[in-house]
Amino acid sequence: MVKSITNLSRSGVSDWLVQRVSAVLLALYTLFMLGVFWATPDMTYELWRQLFSTFWVKIFTLVTLLALVGHIWVGMWTVATDYLKNAWVRFLVLCAVAVTAFVYLVAGVAAVWGV
């Protein structure tokens, strides 16, 4: 058993599952968005606002946002542990990734909940 304390869940199989499930969610959300734009060729601010004030769209958006954060962490953590061989450099880069992901989450929740 290889020790690791910086990956998402300590367990390889659960990180792997998070990565797959979040990928599916992100793909579904992308399709949803493409569908929305396809169905409403002249999108207005009012329609956009209406869409995001629907309860289920909010839920879907927030779940996808969480999936995005998980996906970012597992993916960037993997890339960093592959290519950054200096432990300090790796730690600092991962900190920057963590801050970025956190900002996405907070800004995203605020935006969706604000509607």
Binding site: M1, V2, K3, S4, N7, R10, S11, G12, V13, S14, D15, W16, L17, T78, T81, D82, Y83
Partner: protein, 235 residues
């Protein structure tokens, strides 16, 4: 024909270099790469490489031949891309070079040792032997044939980046060989030892391992089976 060989003697050379040789190969015969190396050695005895069985069973002569890993003794020139014009032989990538084409396989064996490559069974041993049905025996086909030549692991980028932490295709093929054995009772412990983000999950499904294995084995498939077992065990 032109043969270019990776040379490095840590006692005398500052840096590795490529040395070219002119070798006469009979036009009517499809020589193996190992035969060509032997012809080179007739010219220059200082060229070092490993070989033993010269028929693809011992796994000693894993080499990088015109960019692709394989066993010198069972790779005919006709199968080497561009091998008729120029043969370029380098040591297996990603392992420390001891001399010329000879690499230090220490880290490769360490990963193999980690997966406990032997049957574990704590139930009382029967008088003669532990029996296995033909169906259960069949499950080991495509797994037990591995000769540990390291062609696969040294062609795997994930193994290059994390040789100390990622078990690598050869080790994982053997890990599954024992997970799949009906006579082994240590499945749980074996799986527990593999459930970290490196040992198995560093495999990115690049499948270089499958494309180079001289025995035609499929480590990626075995890794998929281990992943399913881990998943089934943990959900």
């Amino acid at each position: 024909m032109k043969v270019s060989i990776y040379r490095y003697n840590p006692e005398t050379d500052k840096k590795p270099y490529m040395q070219d040789y002119d070798v006469d190969v009979p036009a009517d015969k499809d020589l193996m790469v190992l035969d060509v190396l032997n012809l080179v050695k007739e010219q220059d005895v200082s060229v070092s490489y490993r070989r033993s069985c010269r028929e693809g069973v011992c796994g000693s002569d894993g080499l990088n031949i015109n960019g692709k890993n394989g066993l010198g003794c069972v790779t005919p020139l006709s199968e080497v891309k561009g091998g008729r014009e120029k043969l370029i032989v380098r040591p297996l990538p990603g392992l420390p070079v001891i001399r010329d084409l000879v690499v230090d396989m220490g880290v490769f064996y360490k990963q193999y040792e980690k997966i406990k490559p032997y049957l574990i069974n704590n139930t009382p041993a029967p008088a003669i032997e532990r029996l296995q049905s033909p169906e259960d025996r069949e499950k080991l086909d495509g797994l037990y044939e591995c000769i540990l030549c390291a062609c696969c692991s040294t062609s795997c980028p994930s193994f290059w980046w994390n040789p100390e932490r990622f078990v690598g295709p050869a080790g994982l093929l053997q890990a599954y060989r024992f997970l799949a054995d009906s006579r082994d009772t240590a499945q749980e412990e074996r799986l527990a030892n593999l459930d970290d983000p490196f040992s198995v999950f560093r495999c990115r499904g690049i499948m270089n391992c499958v494309s180079v294995c001289p025995k035609g084995l499929n480590p990626t498939k075995a890794i998929g089976h281990i992943r399913s077992m881990l998943l089934a065990n943990a959900t």
